[in-house]
């Protein structure tokens, strides 16, 4: 009996060890088919959309290639950390990279991804919405193919507040929510999502932090952004724990009925039905991102995933082909259906699957078209860190000093100093 058990244990151990070894060596064929294995490093999409896309492309390749799903964490900072380590070490197993839209300039400048040239560049950008298309361009070259995109909408409680007018501003929203004694859910922890918010506020006042040449150029809109952040954080409309809230805390807060407004990505809509119920979901209305200043249209944030080809891959031609296959409209539609992620290809919005999955598809498309990218710079992560540190914690922001502080930090970042 005893020996039996120890034998079984040994066998289990050996199997586990073996799978670890093969896992590291990438000698497995991933999807189980034949052909050249291409590793796709991309965030682990919980709805299963990436798996579906891989399955479809592996079938369509007729055994020429076989994409293996290498899952990265869902948090953008952690994804970048892991993939940057591989790319900086010139890892030849990185064939395909699922890149957050903010990485393009950094990866291109460092020579970690291959440019798309000629017909490939055309294939990558043809028929794409303008917002996502711009996120794959850097210094007049195309560096990836847009796969999915994302933007934030203003979700509100139809049963409690009136439909926001077209020129609804942050100031009006804060005033109204404070009067009602209900919160506005935002992302204000010190992390990438906070940069997303600040960047949209700054762009909404016509400003920027880095100009088209990539030089630091902080305009007066940084002050206006500081005013809004500080006003919300110090008003009755500030949600509990605001300075620590990310997307999920905002979602949970809205679902707990403590708030009338929420700025968030579209995943909160299916979640409302799953976590609270269909009745609650019916109470949710949506509108365009609020304005920073009354006389200028808002600039909603722009997110999403582009697919790039690793510069150190030994199978680049196949990888380009596979990237185009993965990013095809049919797969984008599946990503909408399973993951709630809006398509980057214009024509995909006409597909029945997308219309069904995204009842707010028209508004999304408008928001994406007019969305604001985050600063395009090879030192993006420094810029983002500088923005986060300058505006955090929200309740202590001093609007009249915030512009100088941000400029100072960004200059230090550009010089490669400590900030």
């Amino acid at each position: 009996m005893r020996r039996d058990r120890s034998k079984r244990f040994l066998a289990a151990f050996a199997t586990a060890a073996l799978s670890v070894v093969t896992g590291c060596g990438f000698s497995d064929t991933g999807g189980g088919g034949r052909g050249q294995t291409l590793n796709w490093y991309v965030f682990n999409e919980p709805g299963g959309a990436n798996e579906e896309a891989i399955k479809k492309c592996n079938e369509e390749s007729n055994g020429r290639y076989n994409i293996a799903y290498r899952r990265l964490p869902t948090d953008a900072n952690q994804q970048r950390e892991l993939i940057v380590r591989r790319l900086a070490a010139e890892d030849s197993t990185v064939d395909l990279v699922g890149m957050d839209v903010i990485w393009t300039a950094e990866f291109a400048e460092a020579g970690w991804i291959e440019p798309w040239e000629g017909d490939r560049a055309l294939a990558a950008t043809e028929g794409k919405l303008e917002g996502p298309r711009k996120t794959v361009e850097y210094q007049d070259k195309v560096w990836a193919i847009p796969f999915t995109t994302n933007t934030q909408l203003l979700f509100y409680r139809k049963d409690r507040v009136e439909e926001p007018p077209e020129d609804f501003t942050w100031d009006q929203m804060i005033e109204q929510a404070a009067a009602d004694g209900k919160a506005i859910e935002v992302q204000a922890a010190q992390y990438e999502g906070f940069t997303v918010w600040i960047n949209s506020l700054i762009a909404g006042a016509g400003g920027q932090v880095v100009d088209e040449e990539g030089d630091v150029n902080v305009g007066p809109s940084a002050t206006k952004a500081g005013e809004i952040v500080s006003e919300l954080a110090n008003s009755a409309a500030a949600p509990p724990g605001m300075a620590n809230n990310k997307e999920d805390q905002a979602r949970i807060g809205f679902e707990s009925e403590r708030s009338n407004y929420q700025l968030n990505y579209t995943f909160i809509y299916p979640s409302a039905a799953e976590n609270v119920g269909e009745d609650f979901q019916k109470k949710i209305g949506w509108a365009r991102y609020p304005r920073t200043v009354a006389d200028m249209p808002s600039r909603p944030p722009l997110g999403g995933i582009n697919i790039g080809v690793g510069a150190f891959s030994e199978h680049k031609d196949l990888a380009f082909e596979a990237a185009q296959c993965l990013a095809q409209p049919a797969n984008q539609a599946v990503a909408s259906e399973l993951g709630g992620l809006p398509p980057t290809t214009e024509s995909a919005y006409g597909l029945a699957k997308v219309e069904k999955a995204l009842p707010f598809a028209d508004l999304l498309r408008e928001s994406i078209e007019e969305g604001t990218p985050r600063p395009v710079s090879p030192a993006y992560s420094d810029i983002s860190l500088a923005i986060q540190k300058t505006y955090h914690p929200p309740e202590n922001v001093e609007p009249d000093k915030v512009r100088d502080k941000l400029e100072d930090r960004l200059k230090k970042a550009a010089e490669g100093k400590i900030f």
Binding site: N77, E81, V84, A88, E106, E109, A110, G111, A189, Q190, Y191, P240, G241, M242, A243, N244, Q249, I252, G253, S256, R258, P378, A379, S381, D382, L385, H392, P393, E395, A413, G416, K417, I418, F419
Partner: protein
């Protein structure tokens, strides 16, 4: 080997007599060096090389994103770090966390060590129960504390400890308190274990004798237990201070360095891993390493800590 280290004045053990080194002793010593060599070489490879490489990197301008701009810049990375207010702010934060957590751990750890030492029944279960926090991965423990203090999901809100809308992790003082509590909760068992080892070195006869002379429990604790345990206490403090100064996981999970709770290790992480600025980041790491060496030197030279005594080898 420890027997040849300097004898601090704390213990009154007689100095070993200098014996003549015989032929045999010399051969044995040679064998000892040979036997130690593989371990020493392995240590050099896994610790010596990385440290040397970090020092080398810290003298370069080297950003992974701009590999073409790599050049030797001497000590300019160090002057960048040492002249920035961020570094000194982070040193202050780290020092606050270190001093507060180690002080609380010492008091709590001593109490727990006394309990473990005196436990009459259920010794095993008591020790196991006390050790559980130390066995939990720091990141997991930090997440537990973060969720406990989360305003929407946590259970601490609304209890007698905190008001309904308090959110300690959103402001500096509150965040520091939670980080310190997490550190204390997690590493007090380690402190207690080291102190327990020291307690078992205190001979019972001394207590008996003091009791006969009419010393009270408090007097015996402060006059007999503490002085005899001093080497053990110092070693425990040394280990914990070195650990605490490098605090990363709990602060990283709880606040991510927000609300001015950035510790020096988080600064190093941001520069090295997030900004992939290897030169500047290595300078930060080397400075942390130097700080740690200074702390160790202070304990060893000024307070006379010796790891040999703690193990009862003197």
């Amino acid at each position: 080997m420890e027997a040849t280290t300097a004898q601090p004045a704390a213990t009154k053990a007689p100095a070993p007599k200098k014996a003549k080194i015989t032929e045999r002793a010399r051969a044995e010593r040679k064998l000892a060096y040979l036997l130690c060599a593989p371990a020493l070489i392995a240590m050099l490879i896994v610790t010596g090389y990385p440290i040397g490489y970090a020092v080398y990197l810290s003298l370069q301008k080297y950003d992974l994103r701009f590999p073409d701009e790599k050049e030797f810049v001497g000590l300019s990375n160090y002057s960048d770090v040492l002249t920035s207010s961020i570094w000194w702010d982070d040193v202050l934060t780290t020092t606050i966390i270190t001093l507060a957590s180690v002080a609380i751990e010492l008091v709590l750890g001593m109490a727990i060590a006394l309990i473990m030492h005196r436990a009459i029944f259920g010794r095993g279960p008591v020790r196991a129960a006390i050790l559980i926090p130390y066995g939990i991965v720091t990141v997991v423990a930090a997440f537990a504390w973060r969720y406990a203090f989360d305003p929407s999901a946590g259970f601490v809100q609304g209890t007698f400890l905190l008001g309904d809308d308090a959110a300690p992790l959103t402001e500096r003082a509150g965040s520091l308190v939670v980080i310190i509590l997490t550190e204390v909760w997690k590493t007090t068992p380690f402190m207690a274990l080291l102190l327990l080892a020291g307690l078992s070195l205190v001979p019972d006869e001394l207590h008996e004798a003091a009791k006969v002379d009419g010393a009270s429990t408090v007097q015996r604790f402060f006059r007999i237990t503490i002085p005899l345990m001093k080497p053990a206490i110092l070693v425990a403090l040394l280990f914990r201070t070195l650990d605490a100064f490098r605090v990363f996981d709990s602060a990283f999970i709880l606040t991510g360095g927000a609300n001015r709770t950035e510790t020096v290790s988080i600064l190093g992480y941001n520069v090295l891993i997030n900004r992939v600025n290897l030169g500047l980041g290595s300078a930060v790491s080397v400075l942390i390493f130097i700080a740690v060496i200074l702390i160790a030197a202070f304990f060893v030279k000024v307070l006379g800590t010796s790891t040999a005594q703690q193990r009862g080898e003197v």
